[in-house]
């Protein structure tokens, strides 16, 4: 079991005290009243009381980064939700349980989705283009995004889905069989199957296979630092630059995500950022401008930023799609602010699918979907002006 920081311990203990003193329903009611007064709607998930299994199954492992509290309660230290679980409780992400006073993950070696995807699909445009990634996912997510495109697994418990029996060693074998250059921990929220991910990633690293983390970035500092040691690239969502929108559409908070970006930047992990432009929520040019300025100040101009077109999906199905011109405007705005590589996603044939040299402006990578007909990067440099293009190109 890994130790947790003093700050985490104090906040967790305070929460635990409040939680044990106040009846849980009263706690929730008070919280709702507070939310209503502040005019904010918060769809954050809740702990599933007494929802843990009677006995552990083959795919359970003792979790890492947790703390034991008096009375056999535990606090999960993986993500900022910091779930305090009493005996028999299940975490917000649905993957962790308190079984006999210990924290267990129920998603170790049981992915429910496995696919071989083009790396451009993640999207990762500046990392080993034209290669393929073995993409795996178990159930679980620490968010409740209303527009989740993988809600069938992200909002499900591990026992509720059909799954494969694939422990880390077998994942490596499968990746090799499929000739995959990397393994992507994706689809649902990889942070929720952290133990499975990090063990697989360590093995992959030893076997010369890259590791990709496709995530909402809602993770605590310590597990993230540990993960960065084995990560080769990541695509992390920056769902909005407003905490209110994070609470209302995703059930999360903004600050921890920003912290994730800072840490990954410090750790020199290649990462790209994705923002889904949701009409009426994430479509304010001033907010995007502020976001770009934060990126430039804290992360620099070299991390690619993807603006994705929204389509009505899952529960958020009563909004129109994003107008294409708005995505174009945001791309231009971000470039003008100084971000060098800004892309438009979910729009076939858009100029913003391609990579242009930030120095000479010439076309470096032409993308027609996942097919790359034009490629003008050699030795990580622009073929035309020899400028180094940020990313991992071979």
């Amino acid at each position: 079991m890994k130790p947790i920081s003093r700050r985490q311990f104090l906040s967790s203990s305070a929460l635990a005290l409040a939680y044990n003193t106040l009846p849980s329903q009263a706690f929730c009611a008070l919280k709702n009243i507070a939310d209503a007064k502040s005019g904010q709607k918060n769809i954050a998930g809740k702990i599933f009381k007494n929802d843990g299994p009677q006995k552990l199954w083959k795919w359970a492992r003792e979790g890492c980064n947790y703390l034991t509290l008096p009375g056999d309660a535990v606090v999960c230290g993986i993500c900022p939700n910091s779930c305090i679980l009493e005996k028999g409780d299940r975490s917000i992400c649905r993957s962790k349980v308190n079984f006999d006073g210990k924290l267990y993950t129920l998603t170790y070696g049981n992915p429910c989705s496995i696919n071989l995807d083009p790396i451009e699909k993640k999207p990762l445009f500046h990392f080993k283009p034209k290669t393929r990634a073995l993409s795996i996912a178990t159930t679980g997510c620490n968010f409740r995004c209303l527009n989740c495109q993988n809600w069938q697994i992200s909002q499900a418990k591990p026992e509720e889905v059909r799954h494969y029996d694939l422990f880390p060693e077998k994942v490596i074998i499968k990746a090799k069989e499929k000739n995959a250059a990397s393994i992507a921990y994706t689809y649902s929220e990889a942070t929720t199957y952290y133990e499975y991910m990090i063990d697989t990633a360590r093995l992959a690293k030893k076997n010369g296979i890259c590791n990709l983390w496709i995530s909402n970035g809602y993770i605590n500092e310590e597990p993230l630092l540990e993960l960065c040691k084995v990560l080769d690239a990541a695509n992390v969502n920056l769902k909005s630059f407003s905490d209110a929108v994070y609470r209302e559409l995703n059930g999360g908070r903004l600050d921890p995500v920003l912290n994730t970006f800072k840490i990954m930047h410090q750790q020199k992990v290649h990462f790209e950022m994705t923002t889904l432009v949701v009409p009426g929520y994430v479509d304010d040019p001033d907010m995007i401008k502020e976001m770009c300025r934060w990126i430039l100040k804290n992360l620099g101009p070299d991390h690619p930023l993807h603006f994705l077109r929204f389509f009505p999906r899952y529960k958020l199905d009563r909004l129109p799609p994003t107008p294409v011109s708005l995505l174009t405007q945001f791309r231009n705005l971000a470039i003008k602010e100084g971000i060098r590589y800004v892309y438009v996603g979910n729009v076939a044939g858009h100029e913003g699918n391609n990579t242009y040299c930030h120095h000479c402006g010439k076309l470096l990578v032409e993308r027609k979907g996942y097919y790359i007909p034009t490629y003008n990067i050699k030795n990580s440099r622009c073929k035309f002006c020899d400028t180094v293009i940020p990313g991992v190109w071979t």
């Binding site: 071989l116 059909r162 044939g349």
Partner: protein
């Protein structure tokens, strides 16, 4: 003033209340459908809540004794008229206060919202009917409760006819409310004039109510202003609410609050058209049942001689071309008809039939995903032709319910086509033909020199061979066929809806059962007969609506006719029952027996004649059922004693029974056991009622003591 004139004025109030309430109810249903998921579950919940709250309001009138007065009845009518636009605006604007804008809402929040928004109006409405009776009885103690029942029915019929045959075509919802409430305000005013106890304040009240009704008209369009973009078109078509929202250069068509498609819809348009058409060597004629933005541009690439585009709502075809969501191409024929009815009546053969419909989560849409429809489609395909349709898909994992749904569809369509290709993605496409189907769509398009943005670039990454094969392998071998009489998909869509919202109706059903049992234990045997009659009447109405859909296609216009026929039967039934009420228990038994017989005839007719049954056979059945139901009310009331509490209890038993029948048939029996077994279930319910009344040894002597 003469007593008979006063009574007439009260009667006018009752009729006017009926007119106002039915129009308000129909508009509330349409508003809820625009604000929430319009599946049968939600519709049933609205009707259930409406009837239940009405029943509860009726029960509240039990506490009213001598305090009932003409003056208060006037006030009640005025408040009722004012509440109807307030209710409608509350349904419309409170949604974004309670819920997140743009997001769908799950079962329990929907249920709570329905109850909260309609409770004031429905409780008062339920209260008004028995209150009118009490006022009438205070004036004329021998006034019959049955007469109020008859007059209420008369008002309901008039309101139903007024809305279904004129208002829905001519005016907007708030204008409809204004028109439908004028008789009520006028009736209240006449009653106010006729009584000495009235005060001028009632006149002020009536004028205020009129002001509120007019204010509704004023804020009608502003209350629809979109969250984002600009509303460039709005119309309440007979089929639902149509809006075109412009956001920058993008125009999006919204129907009943749901975005259908926009003019920037390339990916979807390419998939819909090229998946099926790329399979064909030559294309002369294409049939499209409904459409998606941009599809005509893609069809045009094949240069077909004719493209028949069938769309039921002429207002939709008008706007989609006007705002550039669809392009007019050579050979295009626009046919405003129900797709299924069109296929039934045409002899044309097509190379491709492409279905573009929403998810089959209503009985109406489910008609395009059944065995009989696929058979019909096959009859209209030229040799080697292809049928294509799609349902909601998945990104990386297909849930069990979705898999069951796809499996059911696969087996249903496989009955008629030799080859089925399933293409996974955000939508799962089913391509069906007797000729082999090639899954390498980009290569087929290359061979035809057809350029696409999405398919050529993304197909090999999103719809890989591995994904296609995996989906095909997962098909459940023994899943049920989606038959007309037994709509598997509706049941699965309900399950999927609950699954999406991580909830279950179990708690609601358990609570409902407990409350029903408590209620049934407390009522008299005669009230139980009325409860079961309300249940069977409503259940039969839903059966007829459903059967009508199966045999005669879209029934939007006929729904008004069916509802009117059902209401119309109650009126002569009640009058007939009133005239022979002294027959007592024997008549109740006889009527129950007739009802059972009618349901047996319904089952036998469908089994024996099916398609060959004429439309009027269903209308005659509906009229006959309601005639018998109507006949029972005065008889049961007479046996109970005919006094105010008995009448109130009888009204509420009828309403609560109808509420129960609505839920029982539309969300439980029909989806799970099909329409024939549903009819059998209603027979069983009536047999229980028959036994209850037959083995009732109590000799009920009509009570003669008035509680006034």
């Amino acid at each position: 003033m003469k007593l008979s004139k006063l009574i007439k004025k009260i009667q006018f109030v009752v009729i006017a209340t009926g007119i106002s309430s039915v129009v308000t109810q129909l508009l509330a249903i349409r508003e809820f459908l625009s604000q929430f998921n319009g599946n049968e579950f939600v519709i049933a919940l609205i009707l259930f809540a409406w009837l239940l709250l009405g029943g509860a309001g009726t029960l509240l009138a039990r506490s009213v004794k001598k305090s009932a007065s003409f003056n208060r009845l006037c006030w009640l009518s005025v408040v009722l008229a004012a509440l109807s636009p307030i209710e409608l605006i509350a349904i419309r604007v409170l949604r974004d206060v309670f819920f997140i804008h743009g997001a769908s809402v799950g079962f329990y929040p929907t249920l709570a919202y329905i109850f909260i928004t309609i409770a004031p109006y429905c409780l008062l409405l339920g209260f008004a009917l028995p209150y009118s009776l009490i006022v009438a009885k205070n004036a004329a103690p021998d006034y019959s409760g049955t007469r109020i029942y008859i007059l209420d029915n008369l008002g309901d019929i008039s309101g139903g006819a007024l809305f279904s045959f004129s208002l829905v075509f001519l005016v907007t919802p708030f204008k409809s409310l204004f028109i439908a409430n004028l008789p009520l305000l006028f009736a209240a005013y006449r009653l106010y004039h006729a009584t000495h106890e009235s005060r001028p304040s009632i006149l002020i009240g009536a004028i205020s109510a009129m002001g509120i009704l007019m204010a509704g008209i004023m804020i009608e369009t502003p209350s629809l202003v979109p969250f984002k973009g600009e509303m460039t078109y709005y119309k309440e078509s007979r089929y639902g609410r149509i809006k075109i929202i412009k956001d920058r250069e993008q125009y999006t068509l919204f129907v009943n609050g749901q975005p259908m498609f926009s003019n920037q819809n390339t990916n979807m348009a390419e998939e819909i058209i090229h998946y099926p058409l790329s399979q064909l060597k030559s294309i002369n004629s294409v049939l499209m049942i409904s459409a998606q933005g941009g599809v005509m541009n893609e069809v045009e690439k094949y240069h077909p001689e004719t493209v028949d585009y069938v769309e039921i709502d002429p207002d939709i075809t008008d706007v989609v071309f006007r705002f550039g969501l669809l392009k007019k191409i050579p050979g295009l024929n626009i046919i405003n008809s129900d797709g299924r009815a069109y296929l039934k009546n045409t002899n044309k053969l097509y190379n491709a039939i492409i279905i573009n419909l929403p998810e089959p989560d209503t009985f109406q849409i489910n008609r395009f995903f059944t065995d009989r429809f696929f058979y019909l489609a096959k009859q209209h395909l030229a040799p080697g032709g292809i049928l294509s349709f799609y349902v909601k898909g998945f990104d990386s994992y297909i849930s069990d319910t979705e898999l069951e749904k796809i499996s059911s569809l696969y087996h249903t369509v496989h009955t008629f086509f030799k080859n089925i290709l399933l293409l996974p993605g955000n939508k799962i496409f089913l391509l069906c033909s007797d000729k082999p189907i090639n899954k390498d769509i980009p290569t087929l398009l290359d061979e035809k020199n057809i350029m696409t943005d999405y398919i050529n670039g993304y197909y090999y990454g999103n719809v890989t061979n591995e994904r296609i094969e995996r989906l095909s392998k997962q098909i459940i071998p023994d899943s049920h066929i989606n038959r007309e009489y037994s709509p598997q998909l509706i049941r699965l869509m309900f399950s999927q809806w609950f699954f999406e919202f991580s909830t279950s109706p179990a708690g609601f059903i358990a609570a409902l059962l407990i409350l029903t049992i408590i209620y049934l234990v407390r009522i008299t045997k005669e009230e139980f007969v009325l409860f079961s009659t309300g249940c069977v009447n409503m259940g039969s109405e839903i059966l007829v609506i459903f059967a009508f859909q199966i045999f005669f296609g879209y029934i939007y216009l006929q729904i008004g006719l069916i509802i009117t026929v059902f209401l119309a039967g109650l009126l002569p039934g009640a009058m007939f029952g009133e005239s022979i009420r002294r027959q007592g228990k024997q008549l109740l038994v006889f009527a129950d027996g007739i009802m059972i017989m009618l349901l047996v005839v319904f089952i036998a007719s469908i089994l024996l004649f099916g398609d060959h049954l004429p439309a009027f056979a269903f209308l005659i059945f509906g009229f006959a059922v309601s005639l018998v139901c109507g006949c029972q009310f005065p008889v049961a009331l007479y046996i109970q004693g005919g006094e105010k509490p008995a009448a109130i209890n009888a009204f509420s038993a009828d309403l609560i029974g109808a509420a129960f029948g609505t839920l029982l048939t539309s969300i439980l029996l029909i989806p799970y056991v099909g329409i024939l077994w549903t009819a059998a279930g209603l027979i069983l319910f009536k047999i229980i009622s028959l036994m209850v009344i037959q083995f009732n040894n109590e000799t009920h002597i009509p009570k003669t003591i008035s509680i006034i």
